[in-house]
């Protein structure tokens, strides 16, 4: 290594040093400590006590743990496909040459900026069983016994899916950007060949934006398994919206079972890995990268 090389390396390291220090303190140490804690009985107040795989064994027999897994998966099975398809449909519409496109785009995007706590409050009010706007509307059109939404374990998860659908503007904008990148020449060629609008969508547009669909799916899975605030604030009846991240929080900060919470966090990590791996396997033949 020449002295010039060495100097350049030092300068480079100096520039990235904030991240290096932050990485050591706020990522590397916590990750290692978390692995250790997950094998310990730990309440923060006293030093951790090694208990082997007890935390992981406890999970197998903890019915609330399984309920939180089930709740999280079921919620995502509802919210994710509906959210991805609705966002894509909205983006396709907004990509048409319509007037006032900027205003429409702003309207659809705005709810995704709203703080989760505030949106939870607004929806608690709208979905209120007795006084809520939605049920009053349902009564007005002749449904005399509308669901109690969050008060009904069967309807609590669809209610939260509705709230998350309101915030899909983010995804819409990402799709829109991708749609604007679909090569015009391809669409025109398909048109000349007499392909219908539906055929052009299926055979040109969707393949062209498939990497972005895949990206949104991955972000959706990773975020969906960690949903916290909306469900925490809105709280559906009878543990129906006790999601995985909420149960981790409760174990860590309400029951002070920090070791158990850490073990659950690692299982979450494994679930994310497994689901993203499945998603990548399923999409391997369906995602097309331009120029690759």
């Amino acid at each position: 290594m020449t002295s010039g090389d060495r100097k350049r390396t030092w300068i480079g390291l100096a520039f990235v040093s904030p991240w290096l220090i932050g990485f050591a303190a706020f990522t590397l140490y916590p990750v290692c400590a978390s692995i250790y804690f997950s094998f310990c009985d730990y309440d923060v107040l006293s030093p951790p006590v090694w208990v082997g795989t007890l935390n992981y064994q406890d999970m197998v027999t903890d019915s609330v743990f399984w309920q939180s897994v089930w709740n999280t998966l079921l919620f995502n099975l509802m919210a994710l496909p509906v959210g991805l398809v609705s966002a894509l449909a909205l983006a396709l519409l907004l990509n048409q040459p319509v007037r006032l496109r900027g205003i429409f785009r702003a309207i659809y995007y705005l709810p995704s900026l709203v703080p989760a706590v505030a949106s939870a409050m607004v929806w608690l009010w709208i979905l209120n069983g007795r006084l809520g706007l939605l049920n009053q509307a349902l009564v007005a059109i002749g449904i005399s016994h509308p669901p109690q939404w969050l008060g009904d374990p069967a309807w609590a998860k669809p209610s939260l899916a509705l709230v998350s659908l309101w915030g899909c503007g983010n995804t819409v904008v990402i799709y829109l950007a991708a749609l604007q990148g679909v090569p015009r020449s391809l669409l025109e060629a398909a048109m000349i060949d007499g392909a219908s609008a539906w055929k052009r969508l299926l055979n040109v547009t969707l393949p062209a934006i498939s990497p972005v669909i895949y990206f949104n799916l991955l972000i959706g899975i990773i975020g969906g398994l960690q949903v916290f605030t909306t469900a925490f604030v809105m709280g559906g009846a009878e543990r129906s919206t006790l999601f995985y991240a909420i149960y981790i929080y409760q174990n860590a900060f309400e029951y002070r079972h920090m070791g158990y919470a850490s073990a659950m966090a690692w299982i979450l990590c494994l679930m994310i890995l497994a689901l993203t791996w499945m998603a990548s396997r399923l999409s391997r033949s369906r995602v097309h990268y331009q120029g690759d």
């Binding site: 390396t9 300068i11 100096a14 520039f15 990235v16 904030p18 991240w19 290096l20 932050g22 990485f23 706020f26 990522t27 916590p30 990750v31 400590a33 804690f37 730990y42 923060v44 519409l93 319509v98 429409f104 702003a106 309207i107 659809y108 995007y109 705005l110 709810p111 900026l113 709203v114 703080p115 989760a116 706590v117 505030a118 949106s119 409050m121 607004v122 009010w125 709208i126 006084l131 706007l133 309101w166 983010n170 904008v173 990402i174 829109l176 950007a177 991708a178 972005v212 990773i222 960690q226 916290f228 605030t229 604030v233 991240a245 981790i248 860590a252 919470a261 966090a265 690692w266 990590c269």
Partner: protein, 370 residues
């Protein structure tokens, strides 16, 4: 495009837009209503003010239940409570209850038996005085109760503290994130050095770690430092660069021609000066995007403050809003809760309209460059 196709596109877009706006509209309308108009089962769209003659003058009143006819309204002497009595069971000066002695009462009104004129029970806003008046004499007009906003602020108790804390966190996070992420992104994009790309790979890898994994040890660390219950855990980390923003800025920095830096180096310009005086000014749009999203992240954050802020006086707005809901004893004061929600949402929406272009570009960037 055919007219019908075009029409149906507009139809769907307008209907969808109405659904997306409705929650905002309902929030603001509720915020401008008096409490009783939020607790009725058949809602009025717009906040109204009801007036009726009560004790000799036209006053604002709360309309109550409809009164069946015929009946007599009387008041027990000495007490404020009115009693409704079926006609025929009454003498003018006393009423014989089922048990006990006759009570001295004063007849207020006799409601005649006529199907043509319904009556309504009313009371003044303090609930001290109740009466019945013909339905037709109750009038209403649209009045927005802007005073609900100061009242909601008051009901939140430490609103100004919450606002100050939230703003402090926003400013510190923005400064920390922009400065540190820009410097780190510079090191990963504009400089050539051994091990750079391997370290960058590591940085990208850290984005895969879900927050719950580091949540417990971080709490332990900050507790050991004595920072739990202070704002420090919520901003100190931002000065050590976040992987996602480094990634975003690096993409931007790479688009600036290398020759620019080379020319400056030949002129004897130091690396820090190139970073500070040449590259940063050129990357202002990207820095604005990072600043905007960091601001929003800090403004909207809930889990962080929930974990670290223990005293109600030290809360942020998001946490204070949640506390406002849970601390209610009995019935939720929906009009205040919606007013407070409006106050929390308003700055975010204002920010969006001020910096709309940066927002849209920023979001698009995260999706397409990733």
């Amino acid at each position: 495009m055919r007219i019908t196709a075009k029409f149906s596109i507009y139809l769907v877009l307008v209907a969808g837009a109405a659904m997306f706006i409705l929650p905002f509209a309902w929030m603001v309308l509720t915020a401008l209503k008096p409490l009783n108009q939020t607790l009725r089962q058949s809602h009025l769209w717009l906040p109204r003010r009801f007036e009726a003659p009560l004790e000799g003058r036209v006053q604002e009143v709360w309309p109550g239940a409809a009164v069946t006819e015929p009946s007599v309204w009387a008041r027990e002497q000495g007490a404020a409570q009115p009693v409704a009595l079926p006609e025929g069971s009454i003498r003018d000066d006393a009423w014989q209850p089922a048990t006990g002695a006759p009570l001295p009462i004063v007849i207020l009104k006799r409601i005649p038996a006529s199907a043509a004129s319904p009556w309504r029970e009313i009371s003044d806003l303090k609930g001290l005085s109740r009466d019945v008046v013909p339905e037709a004499s109750v009038r209403s007009r649209i009045v927005f109760r802007w005073e609900n906003f100061p009242s909601a602020v008051h009901a939140m108790r430490h609103f100004s503290r919450y606002l100050a804390n939230t703003l402090i966190l926003c400013v510190l996070n923005v400064i920390g994130t922009v400065l540190s992420s820009a410097a780190v992104a510079y090191g990963f994009s504009r400089l050539e050095w051994r091990g750079r790309d391997r370290l960058f790979g590591l940085l990208l890898g850290t984005m895969m770690i879900p927050f719950p994994v580091v949540m417990v040890p971080l709490y332990g660390l900050f507790r050991w430092l004595g920072w739990v219950g202070t704002l420090q855990p919520l901003w100190v980390g931002s000065f050590f660069a976040s992987a996602f923003n480094v990634f975003l800025l690096r993409q931007f920095f790479r688009t600036i021609p290398k020759d620019l830096s080379e020319a400056a180096r030949i002129d004897g310009c130091g690396e820090f000066r190139i970073f500070w005086q040449i590259i940063l000014p050129l990357c202002r749009p990207a820095l604005v995007v990072v600043a905007l999203f960091t601001f929003l992240g800090a403004w909207n954050d809930f889990l962080g403050p929930l974990i670290y802020l223990t005293d109600e006086k030290d809360f942020t707005l998001a946490l204070g809003l949640q506390a406002m809901k849970t601390s209610e004893s009995g019935a939720t004061e929906w009009h205040y809760l919606m007013a407070a929600s409006t106050l929390v949402i308003l700055p975010v929406i204002t920010l969006f309209f001020v910096a709309q272009r940066s927002f849209i570009e920023g979001i698009a960037l995260t999706g397409t460059k990733a």
